[in-house]
């Protein structure tokens, strides 16, 4: 038996599926970049939305982020993992059928996202916007991927698991857990759901997910790929295998705790903020372990860096990885966050990671892999070289302009003179100041897109030059590392055991959530004397429109306890302010001012005019017009269902409010529109979305005082 173990098999790898994922990556990449560029231009020149609701910033931005993360990076991850996994394990992928389900399922999810997001179906949780039916599909396809992956592992001939595979394993397990926990929601209709978590709890779960989406979707899988493709492309072993092991284990233990750095100075309890900050700073070390390992692999072979454009892409990617993982911990320090948070500095930071690290890595990986997959030569090395320099210039334009814009605006917003007054009391002053930089950013994005299109052309021509009939190569593979005790039976057990433990873990996690959930609805940190009233039915309807239009992407609802925020927006937000919010609307970026205490600050008519054309009340505003709010009807019919869900989630509505939610809402809408008519608005707006939205905006921060009918 043992001697046979050392024998060889003749197999072929499944490269067809790698080719499919490769092509999907390349195509969706164009979409992600084009959406991003349109969004970028809209910030400098708002009419770029072409007066279409579907591509107005609030709906386009989630489309851009989802396309970039899950379509572009996601397909690239699957292509790279399936290519390297087979070769590292000396085994063909477990099942061609599962591979096909994985591929087409994932493309279908992307298609659903591309349809539902522009239509305004969103949960408003960043990078988890997709509604519940799509969430379920994501879970199922991820499980298909996991089975295909672990069963391939079970059938491996190479016993040793190369470090890259550990990164893949961490990705698969953690993404599954994050996605499930952040997606626990109760459906209201086919395309609407409410998260079971509310207020601060929802915020914490969301940013625990949000941060780890970056960590386990844009970092660990790419590091795993880096450990395969960089040594292969350079034909040199990784600088230190020992370092790779150390940095892998330290990374996976630290990453998951860093999420609260997205919530510094919010009403999240301070100890949790400090915990997140400390773990974020600790992350610097293991992150740089990866960067050093990648870059040092080329030690003594710098000639390759000069000659080989693919190596240039990898070095560029690793350098941006190093920069952004240095900047991340820096931004997580509370005093730095006070300046940088909610500004474009964060946008710059993120794009140095995505355009610099992920984008350049993907281009490098594809330029190396495509000629191998199609058994041909790269069409043009010179073109690849130019692609690199143009993309690099694009990222630098983007990063520098946004960092300068963010710091400029942060300093202006936080500026207080000697008398204790805000130096720039009008928010719009700080916006007009940075509009030139928004144009520079759009130039950077254009350059990157041009570079990317050159890359696509290069790939296209390469594939065109492929031989007509490509036969699957038969590979002779050897069993390596297996000792005598591994009979077939034992090996089967080992692989199955692994898969089973993962499945069992997921089952336990889901089970515990269901089990623990009832005890979670009591909110220990609430001050009973400061509790707030929940929103009225019309306000909830307006809140749905606020979410659907993506208002939270430019307006926060969280006033920090720092002097400038308090002077500008009012007293700091408390946990009680958002205690009934499913989902929370704290936001993460202030392209416009914070809205926590907007209610009653302006008359109803001001809001009416502001939504039709913001520039009539705020000259130079960059907010788009929302004329469709005057023509689209509010959905009153689903309010009863929504209220019964809210009541079940613990929001204190009485039976009457739930049973008559739509009637109560329409009554308030009639009153509000009558009052607007008396101020000069046109008649017949009762049922229009604008009325519900104004009701919601006027209720923001007003819930401690108002006693609305139907609310205890």
């Amino acid at each position: 038996m043992t001697s046979e173990r050392a024998a060889t098999d003749t197999i072929s790898y499944d490269d067809e599926i790698v080719k499919k994922f490769t092509l999907a990556t390349i195509i969706w990449g164009i979409a992600a970049l084009v959406f991003g560029l349109i969004a970028a231009i809209q910030l400098a020149y708002w009419p770029m939305n072409l007066n279409l609701e579907w591509i107005t910033f609030g709906r386009l931005r989630p489309l851009h982020t989802n396309a970039a993360i899950f379509a572009f990076a996601g397909n690239a991850i699957f292509a790279g993992i399936y290519y390297s996994l087979q070769r590292l394990l000396k085994a063909r992928l477990f099942s061609d059928t599962l591979s096909a389900i994985h591929f087409w399922g994932w493309q279908f999810i992307i298609l659903c996202a591309a349809i539902t997001l522009p239509l305004g179906y969103t949960q408003s949780k960043e990078y988890a916007e997709l509604e519940w039916p799509i969430d379920i599909m994501i879970t199922l396809i991820w499980v298909v991927f996991a089975i295909n992956f672990f069963m391939t592992m079970k059938r491996r001939r190479e016993k040793h698991l190369y470090v890259g595979i550990w990164f893949y394993i961490a990705t698969i397990i953690t993404v599954a857990v994050l996605h499930i926990v952040n997606s626990i929601e109760i459906p209201v209709t086919l395309m609407k759901s409410l998260p079971v978590w509310g207020g601060v709890q929802d915020a914490l779960v969301q940013w625990w997910y949000g941060h780890n989406a970056v960590a386990f979707f844009l970092t660990t899988p790419f590091l795993g790929l880096m450990y395969y493709f960089v040594p292969k492309a350079a034909n040199r072993p990784i600088y230190s295998y020992r370092l790779s092991i150390i940095h892998f284990w330290s990374l996976v233990f630290i990453y998951i705790w860093a999420g609260p750095h997205h919530l510094l100075y919010t009403s999240l309890p301070e100890w949790a903020q400090t915990l997140g900050m400390i773990f974020s700073v600790m992350l610097w070390m293991p992150s740089w372990g990866g960067m050093i390992n990648g870059l040092m692999t080329l030690k003594g072979a710098y000639k390759q860096l000069i000659q080989d454009p693919i190596i240039k892409f990898f070095v560029g990617a690793l350098t941006f990885y190093g920069m952004s993982t240095f900047e991340g911990p820096l931004l997580s320090i509370k005093s730095v966050s006070a300046l940088g948070h909610y500004t474009d500095w964060i946008v710059g930071h993120v794009h140095s990671g995505t355009l610099g690290w992920n984008g350049m890595f993907i281009m490098g990986m594809m330029l190396w892999m495509v000629p191998k997959l199609w058994k041909t030569e790269l069409y043009s090395k010179k073109l690849a070289e130019n692609t690199f320099w143009i993309s690099l210039t694009g990222v630098l334009f983007y990063y520098v302009s946004m960092t300068v814009a963010g710091i400029t605006q942060g300093l202006m917003l936080n500026g207080i003179d000697k008398a204790g007054h805000l130096m720039y009391p009008d928010f719009i002053e700080t916006v007009t100041q940075i509009i030139p930089l928004y144009w520079v950013r759009a130039i950077g994005g254009t350059l990157y897109l041009i570079g990317y299109l050159m890359f696509v052309y290069n790939i296209f021509k390469t594939i065109q030059s492929a031989p007509k009939a490509i036969v699957d190569e038969k590979i002779i593979v050897t069993y390596t590392g297996w000792s005598e005790k591994y009979t077939d039976g034992h090996r089967k057990m080992e692989g199955m055991g692994f898969l089973f433990s993962i499945m069992a873990f997921l089952a336990i996690a889901v089970g515990s959530i269901i089990e623990i959930y009832p005890t979670l609805s009591i909110q220990k940190y609430i001050n009973p004397s400061q509790t707030t009233n929940p929103y009225t039915p019309l306000e909830i309807a307006g809140r749905g429109i606020y979410i659907s239009e993506g208002c939270y992407l430019c307006h926060s609802q969280q006033i920090r306890p720092i002097p400038a925020d308090v002077l500008r927006y009012g007293k700091p937000s408390t946990i009680e302010d958002s205690m009934w919010d499913h989902p929370f609307q704290w936001g993460s970026k202030r392209t416009g001012p914070d809205l926590s205490r907007l209610g009653k600050k302006y008359p109803d008519m001001w809001h009416f005019q502001h939504m039709i054309d913001p520039r009539t009340v705020t000259p130079n505003s960059i907010m788009p017009n929302y004329p469709w709010l005057l023509t689209k009807n509010t959905d009153f019919l689903t309010l009863r269902k929504e209220f019964s869900v809210l009541k079940n989630l613990g929001v204190p509505y009485d039976e009457n409010t739930v049973a008559n939610a739509d009637i109560i809402a329409q009554k308030q809408a009639t009153e509000l529109s009558a009052s607007l008519v008396s101020q000069g608005a046109p008649t017949g707006l009762d049922k229009k979305q604008i009325i519900a939205l104004i009701a919601y905006l006027q209720a923001l921060g007003q819930k401690e005082k108002i006693n609305t009918e139907g609310v205890k």
Partner: protein
């Protein structure tokens, strides 16, 4: 904030899974050799040029 009663156990459970993975890796000898794995991946697969469907015995 009672959400922490869920999130901390999940984070610890994840950490625990990784500890188990680590222990398994050490016991399995995955980390005994920290030199050759880095070199081994550089070897290209041996392409079987003459025998396409014949089994090796």
């Amino acid at each position: 904030m009672n959400i922490l009663f869920l999130m901390i156990p999940i984070a610890l459970l994840l950490g625990f899974i990784f500890v188990l993975g680590f222990i398994w890796a050490v016991n399995d000898g995955q980390m005994d050799d920290l030199e050759t794995p880095a070199i081994r991946i550089l070897n290209d697969d041996l392409i079987d040029k003459k025998l396409h469907r014949k089994e090796f015995k």
